[in-house]
């Protein structure tokens, strides 16, 4: 029983970080039909940027902000130079392009920061005792902060003027243009938002397991699973799927080893593709 509660907490915390990564990915896919294979690498780059800023300034929150802004700017440059010319082309083209970007970023990180793990110290110290376990407060704070950021994104999309532009463009790019919405600019802005969220999640996740140049790929993979399970391009679905998949993995870790538990999420992915290819958390199309 106590293990169940610990794993629930654990699943929720990782689920919230994953939801932050996945919501950027799903937003970008929804609006541009671009499957961004470099998304996790932007997260990794954000984490390294954060670690560097933290090393210089000593402020975690400043590092978080700086990483988000720096990677958003990088996202803007990437979108304009690489993806904008490819919009509307075969999805394979953008997959290859973003895969290329992913490799470039990984090799750059290896060259710049080397293969060793960089630590980001927790800004919120202290632990609390949960049954037999010392659980860091920082992880709970991370989950809450991720929740706040996702909620802010949702409110912006729902009520903001530019949020409506984003939703309109997602639904019908051509009609949005006819209504005078500057669609190319909206695309770039969404890519910047997604990149900033990836970078912020990288910094937030940094203290969990350290920053390495391969952490991005792992997150790209997991984010893809939840984006597919949640219904491609569906923001709410991706967030629910992040929490769902993370909880399932956490519970599975009670029975099997954590490494084996990862397999469970692939099983969820395969079953979703087989039985609900439109996604688990989307109403059945009428």
């Amino acid at each position: 029983m106590d293990q169940l509660i610990v794993q629930t907490l654990h699943g929720l915390v990782t689920g919230m970080v994953l939801a932050m990564v996945a919501s950027g990915l799903t937003l970008i896919f929804g609006i541009m039909d671009v499957v961004n294979f470099a998304h996790g690498d932007l997260m990794m780059l954000g984490a390294f940027t954060g670690a560097t800023v933290l090393g210089v300034t000593g402020s975690f929150w400043l590092a978080l902000l700086a990483a988000a802004i720096a990677i958003a700017v990088l996202g803007v440059l990437l979108q304009i130079t690489t993806l904008r010319p490819l919009i509307g082309r075969d999805p394979l083209t953008t997959i290859l392009a973003t895969f290329g970007i992913s490799l470039v970023i990984q090799k750059y990180a290896l060259w710049q920061w080397g293969p060793s793990v960089r630590r980001i110290t927790e800004p919120v110290p202290g632990h609390f005792t949960l049954f037999h376990l010392e659980y860091p407060w920082y992880r709970v704070a991370t989950a809450l902060l991720a929740g706040v950021i996702i909620a802010a994104l949702w409110l912006f999309l729902k009520y903001g003027k530019y949020g409506i532009w984003i939703r309109a463009t997602t639904q019908d790019r051509v009609m949005a243009q006819a209504m005078g919405i500057p669609v190319p600019l909206v695309h770039t802005a969404v890519f910047a938002i997604g990149s900033a969220m990836a970078a912020a999640s990288g910094v937030l996740f940094g203290p969990f397991a350290g920053v390495t140049q391969t952490m991005g790929f792992d997150f790209t993979l997991r984010a893809f699973i939840v984006v597919v399970v949640g219904g491609m391009g569906n923001l709410g679905g991706s967030i629910l799927a992040s929490i769902f998949v993370s909880l399932v993995e956490a519970y599975a870790a009670i029975v099997v080893s954590p490494a084996q538990a990862v397999i469970v999420s692939f099983v969820v992915l395969v079953l979703t593709m087989l039985f609900r290819p439109t996604g688990l958390f989307v109403p059945t199309p009428k």
Binding site: Q171, A178, I181
Partner: protein
């Protein structure tokens, strides 16, 4: 105001417009008739920059539209009501209208006025303003599509088959709207299958066949000459 000169267009490799020439003057209602698949909708899409133009010229208020991206046409004064209506289905009625109202440089008072005007014209949209666009009936969606174009304060509306699939009561409502827009001085390029409605609403009419304009004249003359209508349209 809007002039198409010898416009050619391609869908992929198929050549769909073979030199279309049409002119619409300010405040004029012009009908574009023709059987299915002769290129009427494509002509409108060519103006909107949505098909590959491979020849000719489209000029609006003296400006060549070749280099103008689609999203800048609304600001010039061109609005499009597509055949499939293309309501933003997951956006509410109000949000659908906001896609046209949230443009930079529109004063808040003017914005309110425009919204009030379309709500006065289409009271049902005011009632449904918080409902998702996709839940509206076909007729209501058509009204929303027209209202959405109206809030752009266009000089010309490209109106593609507005009465298609609508009940007779809705058709007469659309007819009234076309008249009202005409009175307000908005030019309309009206693509229709409904010949009587077009001949009644339009000042002049173009008839297309296989990607070119075959006939053009005053609507009144065509009304008096059923033989010509039969020859080109088979009705």
């Amino acid at each position: 105001m809007l002039t198409l000169r010898d416009v050619h267009a391609h869908y992929g490799k198929s050549h769909v417009l073979h030199g279309v020439s049409i002119e619409i003057r300010a405040g004029e209602v012009v009908g574009l008739l023709g059987r299915n698949g002769v290129g009427k909708t494509t002509t409108l899409k060519a103006v909107m920059g949505l098909v590959r133009r491979t020849g000719g010229q489209i000029v609006f208020d003296g400006q060549d539209l070749a280099a103008v991206p689609t999203h800048q046409l609304a600001a010039l004064g061109i609005a499009w009501v597509p055949e499939e209506r293309r309501i933003f289905r997951l956006l509410t009625v109000l949000e659908n209208l906001r896609t046209g109202l949230d443009r930079p440089g529109l004063a808040p008072a003017r914005r309110e006025e425009l919204l009030e005007r379309v709500f006065a014209r289409f009271p049902i949209l005011r009632e449904r303003r918080h409902q998702a666009g996709g839940t509206l009936s076909g007729g209501e969606q058509q009204m929303l599509a027209i209202a959405r174009a109206m809030v752009l304060e266009p000089k010309i509306i490209l109106l593609d088959e507005p009465t298609e699939g609508l009940m007779p009561r809705m058709v007469s409502q659309i007819r009234e709207i076309v008249h009202a827009l005409h009175r307000d001085g908005v030019a309309i390029l009206l693509v229709e299958q409904n010949v009587p409605l077009t001949l009644e609403a339009a000042d002049r009419v173009y008839i297309m066949e296989k990607g070119v304009v075959r006939h053009h004249g005053q609507a009144a003359d065509l009304r008096a000459n059923p033989a010509a209508i039969h020859e080109y349209l088979g009705v």
